[in-house]
């Protein structure tokens, strides 16, 4: 028909084919080559709603509740749903400034206009009530329930530890945690985090463009249920713990009590301390900063982190090593004559010309132990003094001195006993070991650092006549004896049990007729040893170790009271009270208790 331009049909057809093939190519790139769209689609439509399990409860050894959960509320915003609202009213209810609110809303907007962002955390119940009533006025705001820790008694703060928001480092390290999650930061909360936290559940929902839930994805095929955190029964006797903290009030120091037959820690007190309820909820950060800046360092757990020279409480240890090494026997009598003298060196003491083994403990003879220690170091069994020192140090290690005990408490320190190599270097100039330089270690002074926990553990080993169980704070998890196997293994200290009796005999006499008569109780046989540690920080530390009763001991205890003076004055009577409280559950000497409670040794006014 129209023949003149009939070739134009091919141009038109070609043009149509060209354009539509370009479209197909574009679709191929959009649908096959690129993956980003798929991910964007998932981001669009999937909403992961996390079910937070409630954290496990913490009980004491008698089943008394120590730590539980309390509901608080987070305020959430979906920027896209916001309408004009009365900011003044809102700010008044939730108690933040307008600037802060605006800043938080901006942040939320820049994160996502359609997704939820938490803008106010941990709103307490009373404020939540107010807000919930008026929430209809504030479109786009929602609340979600969280739980925070709450404590039945204001005790054992550093032992229990606290819970806080997970930091970025942890989020990177462990995929379980997401920003805003809570995690145990110290104490039991940290060391048993995996048991306490339980497992989060995830519900995957589909949402539409307005972020409205449209139902669960594939009928919940990929959802997981939240698993509630395990309850933990600690070995702590909360009454004893509270009593220890009471006695330590206005004093600096620490008390550790262990059940020798199990290694369970009955009480682990440090002073000064704080109310664990301070490190909870919205004020946590503020309070934490205050506690951190406090000169008295209440956050510092002395029981496991402070290193003290043990003073004379160290003498039983040297006595036991001397006996095991056979450099002395239980019948060895050594002179004192007012002290230990070698050339110009003089170690003061105040006993007579013949000090028996038993009396050396009962009367805490410095000269006796200086000589024992020299015998240990000069033992002909060893090629050199250095090797003898090394052997001595190995004994200490077996006692758990100078190394970490591997307890379930986090941040315990290893303490300080220098190695042979350290002294090899120290004595290099003089080309030989000079044992006299080390002799103060005979009486627990000098270059020795022991934590109260380590000292309590030594006492426990003496009470058991030769072994201990690794001290631990948790008795069981979810009522199963599911704690680590290492806590059920006897740890032998390498001293034959026969050598303990004479030492224990001396220790009983310490209380009956020796340096710690202030600790005497007529119905409980207490075996103890006083210590008065010189230290560069001021007045001597008052120290006492003890266990009771002598047979089938129920409690082993170590007390350090800083800058308080003689061991016999403070630490000994305190331990006597604690032992009485624990074994008899009553106090017969009210005057003694009153005297201790009412004394302020932290900031002496007199």
């Amino acid at each position: 028909m129209e023949t003149t331009n009939s070739n134009r049909q091919y141009f038109i057809a070609g043009f149509i084919i060209l354009i539509l093939l370009i479209y197909i190519a574009k679709l191929a790139s959009l649908q096959i080559m690129e993956n980003t769209y798929k991910r964007s689609a998932d981001n669009n439509v999937f909403r992961h709603i996390i079910q937070y399990p409630s954290r496990g409860l913490i009980f004491d050894r008698n089943g008394d509740l120590l730590v539980y959960n309390q509901p608080v509320y987070d305020v959430i915003v979906v920027p896209n749903e916001l309408e004009v609202f009365d900011t003044t009213e809102f700010c008044n209810i939730v108690n933040i400034s307008k600037d802060e609110l605006n800043k938080k809303l901006e942040e939320a907007k820049s994160y996502s206009r359609f997704k939820q962002t938490i803008i106010i955390q941990l709103l307490p119940f009373d404020k939540y009530g107010l807000l919930a009533e008026k929430l209809y006025k504030f479109r786009g705001f929602y609340t979600q329930t969280r739980t925070i820790r709450s404590y039945t008694k204001p005790i054992a703060a550093s032992l229990l530890g606290y819970v806080g928001e997970v930091d970025d480092k942890m989020i990177k390290k462990n995929a379980y945690y997401k920003s805003g999650d809570y995690i145990g930061i110290s104490g039991i909360e940290k060391s048993y985090e995996n048991n306490l936290r339980g497992r989060k559940g995830i519900n995957i929902f589909l949402v539409d463009v307005h972020n409205r839930l449209k139902g669960s994805y594939k009928d919940g095929k990929f959802d997981t249920l939240a698993v509630v955190g395990s309850n933990i029964v600690t070995s702590i006797d909360s009454k004893l713990q509270a009593y220890c903290e009471l006695l330590l009030k206005n004093k600096k120091g620490s008390i550790v009590a262990i059940e020798p037959s199990t290694g369970e820690i009955l009480a682990l007190a440090t002073s000064p301390t704080y109310d664990p309820n301070l490190l909870v909820g919205r004020e946590r950060t503020d309070n934490y900063r205050k506690l951190l800046l406090d000169n008295e360092k209440p956050l510092f757990n002395r029981a496991i982190r402070a290193m003290y020279p043990p003073g004379s409480t160290f003498k039983p240890v040297n006595a036991l090593i001397g006996l095991q090494e056979e450099v002395i026997t239980a019948k060895t009598v050594l002179p004192c004559n007012g002290g230990y003298r070698v050339g110009s060196f003089h170690q003061h003491c105040h006993h007579g010309s013949a000090v028996t083994f038993t009396y050396s403990i009962q009367g805490s003879c410095n000269a006796y132990y200086s000589q024992v220690f020299m015998k240990i170091l000069k033992n002909s069994k060893y090629e050199s003094i250095g090797l003898a020192y090394k052997s001595w140090r190995d004994y200490l290690q077996k006692f758990g001195i100078g190394r970490k005990l591997n307890t379930d408490l986090i941040n315990e320190v290893s303490g300080l006993v220098y190695s042979k190599e350290h002294y090899d270097k120290y004595f290099e100039v003089e080309r030989r070991w000079k044992p006299l330089r080390l002799v103060s270690m005979a009486i627990g002074q000098g270059e020795l650092g022991i934590t109260p926990l380590q000292m309590a553990n030594v006492t426990s080993a003496i009470a058991n006549r030769g072994y201990y169980y690794i001290p631990h704070i948790v008795k069981n998890i979810n009522r199963n004896d599911s704690i680590d196997n290492r806590f059920y293994q006897k740890q032998y200290v390498g001293i034959d049990s026969v050598y303990f009796e004479p030492v224990i005999e001396g220790m009983e006499l310490v209380v009956k007729a020796g340096t710690a008569r202030s600790a005497f109780l007529d119905n409980i046989s207490i075996c103890g040893k006083t210590g008065t540690a010189e230290n560069p920080h001021g007045k001597d530390h008052s120290i006492f170790i003890a266990f009771a009763p002598r047979d089938n001991p129920k409690i082993a205890i170590a007390i350090f009271v800083e800058n308080a003076g003689f061991g016999s004055t403070w630490a000994a009577p305190m331990s006597s009270l604690i032992i009485e409280k624990y074994i008899n559950d009553s106090i017969s000497r009210q005057y003694l208790e009153d005297r201790i409670i009412n004394t302020n040794l932290m900031n002496p006014t007199k």
Binding site: M1, E2, T4, N5, S6, R8, Q9, F11, I12, A13, I16, I17, I19, L20, I22, Y23, I24, K26, L27, A28, L30, Q31, I32, E34, T36, Y37, K38, S40, A41, D42, N44, V45, R113, L206, V207, D208, V209, H210, K214
Partner: protein, 472 residues
């Protein structure tokens, strides 16, 4: 009787089959797009997919009517129908209902009809009727102007309704004019103008005043092979412009693009005498194209910044990648691309699409219906649909070429133009290749008006084709 059976046996069943395949697929995708579990029945007439089924049924009635009516009637009624439609378009301007800011709907009871959809059809018919006149010659200016008037009168009325998308469809009739013998250079001119238009928006006019004259000198050299003249031209251009720029700094302080424009005009004036003396050809032509292009870019620039409204500017800018608007226009296109892209190679399966079902994609059952195809049927689905459309268009070209009457041939090309434009714009906007212009995808998008108008449009042509033997 003989005639009727003859017509039925001559119906192009292939085209009819493609039509029904597309309509059924469209219906299924509308169902998927608005599917919700409370109204799961595909025949539920309270839902859009139920209604679409009614529109489809009515379309079948319309198809039967079209076949009953003698094909000569369309010839006869072409002009009256066209004029009637113009009156309707004016009426809708006065009495119509506003939907989405466009006054382009008539509301009769619960049914809304969009006359603009049908105006395409009457225009295609009137244009074909006009161009098929015995003494019509498109290269005659008079006839060309008349044809242009036929095309753009309804378009102008639709622009007044504030329905720019539907008005732009009329530009597609250039395909009919081209097939009807319009000069190729006009097409080339339009192509150049298109390139200039986009350039004017994407590149600062100042740079265009540098690029265009240099390009002209290059073209001059390619045609004339006269290196000496080209170099002289370049030299004069540079020196005149330097004088102007330096002068401007000291005296006038006009915008740089104006100064360069004046410089170019002065260069041309300076060159007129030597060109005349040396009898250099093509100079006048290239110089006037250059001046014309500059005028065009200046006016596009002016129009774009002074005349267009902000949202229109934004749409164009977003498309050209000059502006980012992640919450507005770009949000829609992004969501659309996400929906299509997330379908992958084989799609998520029927009713399994999440992006379209949960309203992330706007207008997912009308203008953005292609997203549902992309998400649920993947690349297989989208390419099959495009290939179906391609096959339909090529088939229609084939049919148009076998027509014995010029009327039915030009009408065929009118059908091709309209369908092609809708397909290109609608699919193009969902994959981010063309600006978002709200026009439906033929046979697919939800809506009675558009389905009926496309059905009538196509089947009148099939009717013509069925009786092509009688055409003389």
């Amino acid at each position: 009787m003989r005639r009727t059976s003859n017509v039925i046996s001559n119906i192009d069943w292939t085209t009819v089959a493609i039509y029904f395949i597309l309509v059924i697929l469209g219906w299924g995708n509308i169902y998927a797009a608005v599917y919700n579990e409370d109204h799961g029945n595909i025949f539920d007439i309270t839902q859009r997919y139920g209604k679409q089924l009614i529109w489809i049924s009515i379309s079948i009635v319309l198809i039967i009517l079209i076949f009953i009516i003698d094909s000569k009637a369309y010839d006869f009624f072409a002009y009256p129908a066209y004029l009637f439609m113009l009156i309707i378009l004016i009426a809708v301007l006065l009495f119509g209902t506003k939907v989405h800011g466009a006054r382009s709907w008539f509301e009769i009871g619960s049914i809304r009809i969009q006359p603009a959809e049908f105006a395409k059809l009457t225009t295609a018919l009137a244009l074909a009727r006009f161009m098929s006149a015995y003494n019509f010659k498109i290269t005659r200016i008079n006839d060309l102007i008349k044809a242009t008037v036929i095309i753009f009168t309804p378009s102008a009325l639709i622009i007044l309704q504030n329905d720019t998308g539907s008005a732009l469809v009329y530009f597609s009739f250039i395909i009919v004019l081209y097939r009807g013998g319009l000069w190729s250079w006009i097409i080339a001119l339009f192509a150049i103008l298109g390139v200039l238009f986009v350039s004017a928006l994407m590149i600062d006019v100042y740079y265009l005043t540098i690029i265009l004259p240099i390009l002209s000198i290059l073209i001059f050299y390619i045609f004339e092979r006269n290196i000496k003249a080209a170099l002289v031209g370049l030299l004069v251009l540079i020196s005149v412009n330097l004088v102007f720029i330096v002068g401007n700094i000291y005296f006038f302080n006009l915008p740089k693009s104006y100064i360069l424009f004046l410089g170019i005009i002065s260069t041309i004036i300076v060159l007129i005498y030597p060109v005349y003396i040396n009898k250099i050809k093509n100079f006048a032509l290239i110089a006037s194209i250059l001046i014309g292009s500059l005028f065009f870019t200046f006016s596009v620039d002016y129009l774009f910044h002074k005349v267009l409204e902000k949202h229109q500017r934004t749409r164009i800018n977003v498309l050209l990648g000059l502006e980012s608007d992640p919450t507005g226009v770009e949000y829609n296109v992004n969501q659309s691309k996400i929906a299509i892209g997330s379908g992958g190679f084989s799609g998520k399966g029927f009713l399994q699409g999440t992006q379209t079902k949960f309203d992330f994609v706007p207008e997912q059952d009308t203008d953005f219906i292609f997203c549902t195809v992309g998400e649920e049927w993947g690349f297989i689905g989208t390419s099959v649909i495009i290939l179906l459309f391609m096959f339909l268009l090529l088939r229609l070209i084939n049919m148009a070429e076998r027509q014995k009457s010029r009327l039915s041939q030009f009408y065929g090309y009118g059908v091709i133009s309209i369908l092609f434009f809708h397909i290109v714009i609608n699919i193009g906007m969902t994959i981010g290749l063309v600006p978002v212009i709200g026009i439906p995808l033929p046979f697919f998008s939800y809506g009675g008006s558009s389905l009926w108008s496309f059905t009538i449009l196509l089947f009148i042509f099939i009717r013509f084709d069925a009786s092509r033997i009688e055409q003389l």
